[in-house]
Assembly symmetry: C2
Homo-oligomer: 294 residues x 2
């Protein structure tokens, strides 16, 4: 699919929060018609007024029925629910893609779409700890990986549409099996967010904490606690949808903490240093290999 073909599409973005709003902003002027659907009437009004989309409405059936390309940008459990509804409403050549953080349940629901529909799973690896249309931005996806997962409804044309979409928003497409995606995302996305939440929950139970923390905390706490401010509905959906992979990852962290704390309690400085040095080298090696500068 070349630029002019992609430019002729009618695109419907479902869910106009941080991800959907940013997607619409990134696509403005690059497609023929851009419409939105959100269950919140106030969000629809704001998205229309601010020209994020040409038109937005709470009516899912009409919105997806008009579209050549449907982009599902709700929390992941809502994506699965919507995929169970929209099959009969989609037009003959429609392509469906999603932006959900967990892929196995989405792919399963896409596999069950009617045979005339094309569908592919997507997960743009970017985001913010803030949420909602107000913090959406057109450059959110730029230079970030956009994971693509094949389904039973993916053909060559589907791949071309997905790649044209990535091209339009400046993202880098990366084909990945859904199961492998969910395992890897559990480790490097879902687990960090969960640990960040547990850190904040542990440090300020019920929101109370020594005010001296405000003077003593520096960039370390700022960075490790940032993800605890993530949208709670999105996070709950992720934890519930990728529970098995996340539980495995949490157990690996428990094992690490237990091992480190046993060394602390034994006062075993040599073992502690050696273990921490191994971890340090692993982080440095990984960051260098994959171009992470901090």
């Amino acid at each position: 699919m070349d630029e002019s073909e992609f430019g002729g599409l009618t695109v419907c973005v479902v869910g106009l929060g941080l991800m959907g709003g940013s997607m619409a902003m990134a696509l403005r002027g690059k497609v023929d018609t851009l419409i939105g659907v959100d269950k919140d009437r106030a969000v629809c009004r704001k998205a229309t007024k601010q020209d994020v989309v040409e038109d937005a409405d709470t009516d899912l059936e009409t919105g997806v029925g008009l579209a050549d390309l449907v982009i599902l940008a709700t929390p992941v459990r809502a994506i699965v629910e919507i995929l169970g509804q929209i099959g009969p409403w989609l037009s003959e050549d429609a392509t469906v893609i999603d932006l959900g953080s967990v892929k196995r349940p989405v792919i399963e629901a896409m596999d069950a779409l009617p045979a005339h529909v094309r569908a592919i799973g997507g997960h743009p690896m970017c985001g913010k700890e803030t949420s909602g249309l107000d913090v959406a931005e057109a450059d959110l996806f730029r230079r970030h990986t956009f994971v693509l997962c094949q389904t039973a409804r993916t053909d060559d044309d589907t791949l071309r549409v997905a790649e044209a979409l990535c091209d339009a928003i400046g993202a880098r497409p990366y084909m990945l099996d859904a199961e492998r995606h969910d395992t890897v995302a559990a480790k490097v996305s879902h687990l960090p967010a969960l640990l960040s939440a547990a850190l904040v929950g542990g440090v300020m139970p019920g929101g109370t904490v020594d005010p001296a923390t405000g003077r003593v905390a520096s960039t370390g706490f700022r960075d490790t606690s940032r993800l605890a401010a993530s949208d709670s509905v999105m996070m709950a959906d992720i934890l519930l949808s990728n529970a098995d992979a996340i539980i495995d990852s949490v157990n690996e962290v428990y094992a690490q903490l237990d091992e480190l704390m046993a060394m602390v309690q034994a006062g075993d400085a040599d073992a502690l240093r050696a273990h921490l040095e191994g971890i340090r080298q692993a982080r440095i090696g990984w960051a260098e290999e994959h171009g992470f500068t901090t």
Copy 2:
């Protein structure tokens, strides 16, 4: 103590790594004489060659004996050890301050210094995940909190020297009781570093991990895993020196993780969302109250 008085001092920095090297760089041209001590001869040579200090040597006794102000910038267990040695070598009016991350054992060792010596505990709340003289920088302390802890050897003159030091390096002095410091630092400094290490240890055990993590990981993993690259000798010293407060904090995180995972395993979406939302609000409220912008 005014600027000209501070400018007349001979200062000896013990430990020329990230913290001590940065301290020396920040003090260059602001004191009469600036010398360094490091147990590593190559570091001494480099610090002298690069004019980080006017002279550096491995001989602790001579170095501290010459100084009006001794700044101990080694890992915290070495600080305690050095404090046990240098009492007889210090000149009559010498002031000792340290930059260690844990304060109770340091204060205890300072209390045991000879009566003619002045001493105060210090902890600048800044740092990097990298270590050593090569990454030292003069602006490291600028606009950061510099915790000061009184000892039995702290008088008004000691406080004036410590405040003049903070002024010279652009840091913000903040008086805090050593016990309270250690409790607060366990929560917002030591615990985040430990969780970061456990995260990396869990995600890449033995340094092996699916290379797809390099494409899927984004700012979330980058920020939550960054502290795992911290100097392992420094981190081991911190964990061993503040073990009781850190164990308490780790247990609070365990309790939080257990609670969250129980909700995940029960599939209780409402409870999970409510709990995560409480944590989210706590983080947002704390960040707003204390001027953290992310």
